[in-house]
């Protein structure tokens, strides 16, 4: 099994059909373990039980950014190598990434209310995640708006790459802007010295959510391939009737 084999959509379908159940099972198991570990995790001396939100908030936030990275790679595949599976991968990833971003926002807000006393703050990190969310939604709208998938793929690829350049700039500039106007009122635990009691469930959950992404992405890619087959069959039928 080489990468070239994977390039063939039919090959991809049959291969993933074998892999998918195992992946799904692994995801389920790891998620269960992670959930158990987080339930058992002790309260933080400062944050109390709300620290439990961290175990879902942080993986979602990480994935929100990771998925854009996956889409950027796919965009390169579309523009540079014209790889048909790259289009499929980019399109399938967008809604999943948007969902993770949404969850990072929601869990963050729900954590912010007890911690900072407000659901929303125009803080640097929060704002850049919101922008990320908007960009996901824009990209999904773009995919939806154009019937012809190859045409949409190229436009989406250009936009994804420009967005990939832009996001760090936003993040960086927003940081800068916040320190300029007022000191960040953000209380962070800092990724530095996290107690093992929190670190282990967090990492388990992070791995579990990553697996969840891989599984969902693969399944969504399969759907997308099928959708394109349906489309080309429909087109061909129209052509046959014409002839």
């Amino acid at each position: 099994m080489t990468l070239l084999d994977l390039a063939n959509p039919t090959r991809f379908l049959s291969l993933t059909a074998k892999v998918l159940p195992w992946l799904a099972a692994a995801t389920a198991i790891l998620l269960a373990v992670g959930l158990y570990q987080s339930a058992m995790a002790p309260d933080d001396y400062q944050q109390g039980a709300t620290v439990k939100i961290m175990f879902i908030h942080v993986p979602n936030a990480w994935l929100a950014m990771f998925v854009w990275g996956v889409m950027s790679l796919s965009a390169l595949g579309t523009l540079v190598w014209r790889h048909p599976l790259a289009d499929v991968s980019a399109k399938a990833a967008a809604p999943i990434g948007a969902a993770f971003t949404f969850l990072a926002l929601v869990t963050g807000s729900l954590w912010g209310r007890p911690m900072w006393g407000t659901y929303w703050e125009w803080d640097a990190r929060l704002t850049s995640v919101l922008i990320l969310f908007l960009m996901y939604l824009g990209l999904m709208a773009l995919w939806r708006a154009v019937e012809d998938p190859t045409r949409a793929a190229r436009a989406a690829a250009v936009l994804t790459l420009v967005g990939a350049v832009n996001l760090p700039i936003i993040k960086f500039s927003v940081d800068w802007w916040n320190t300029l106007h007022q000191p960040a009122s953000v209380m962070r635990m800092g990724g530095s010295t996290l107690d093992k009691a929190f670190l282990i469930p967090l990492l388990t959950m992070a791995v579990a959510f990553s697996l969840l992404f891989v599984t969902l992405h693969m399944a969504a890619m399969r759907n997308e391939i099928l959708r394109r087959r349906v489309r080309s069959l429909q087109m061909m039928q129209a052509g046959q009737q014409a002839a």
Binding site: E147, D148, R231, S232, M235, M236, A238, G239, A242, A243
Partner: protein
Amino acid sequence: MQPAAITESRNVMESAAFRLVGRALTCIRGGREIFADLGFSLSAGEALAVTGRNGAGKTSLLRLIGGLLKPAAGTIVLEGSPDESPPAEQAHYLGHRDALKPALSVAENLRFWHAFLGGERDSPPAALAAVGLDHIAHLPAGYLSAGQKRRLSMARLVAVRRPLWLLDEPTSALDTAGQALFATLMTDHLAKGGLIVAATHAPLGIATRELRIGGAA
């Protein structure tokens, strides 16, 4: 802006034995295959009339040659081109849309394309006279009738010299005199060693070879 005519004595078209060759072309648009495995070849001084039913893919073929569409398979080359440039850069494309800005005058429109397209050129006023529009050079292009717009597009072919003409139903909207005029222009162009590919439903008034595209609609 572009003052006078640039009339070099050297003429690209005469100096090179051009041949436009398309091989095994397949065109897919909007997910539907328009035509497959189409081939043609055309030497300097020849005109090819592309015919076929509505929706057969005549316009699509012209756009493939002009590089405005990418073929799903196959190649198009202009053999004998001195500088290896793609056919698009050696070609004039006269499509359904006239590439005119209604707010600019007739003369301004032509002068723009004259300056923008570059290469060997004749003077714009002479070109306007050649298509019979010199008396309305100052009118905004938005005021022109359908046939007058077509004539203004034709003026572009005269003002800027390109060896390959891609013409999409060039005589539509032209009156009888206009069609005769256009036939003369094409004959001249061919005599100078030019090539013409024209999609058409009506006779062009010149000797042509015919490429019939199957397909339906």
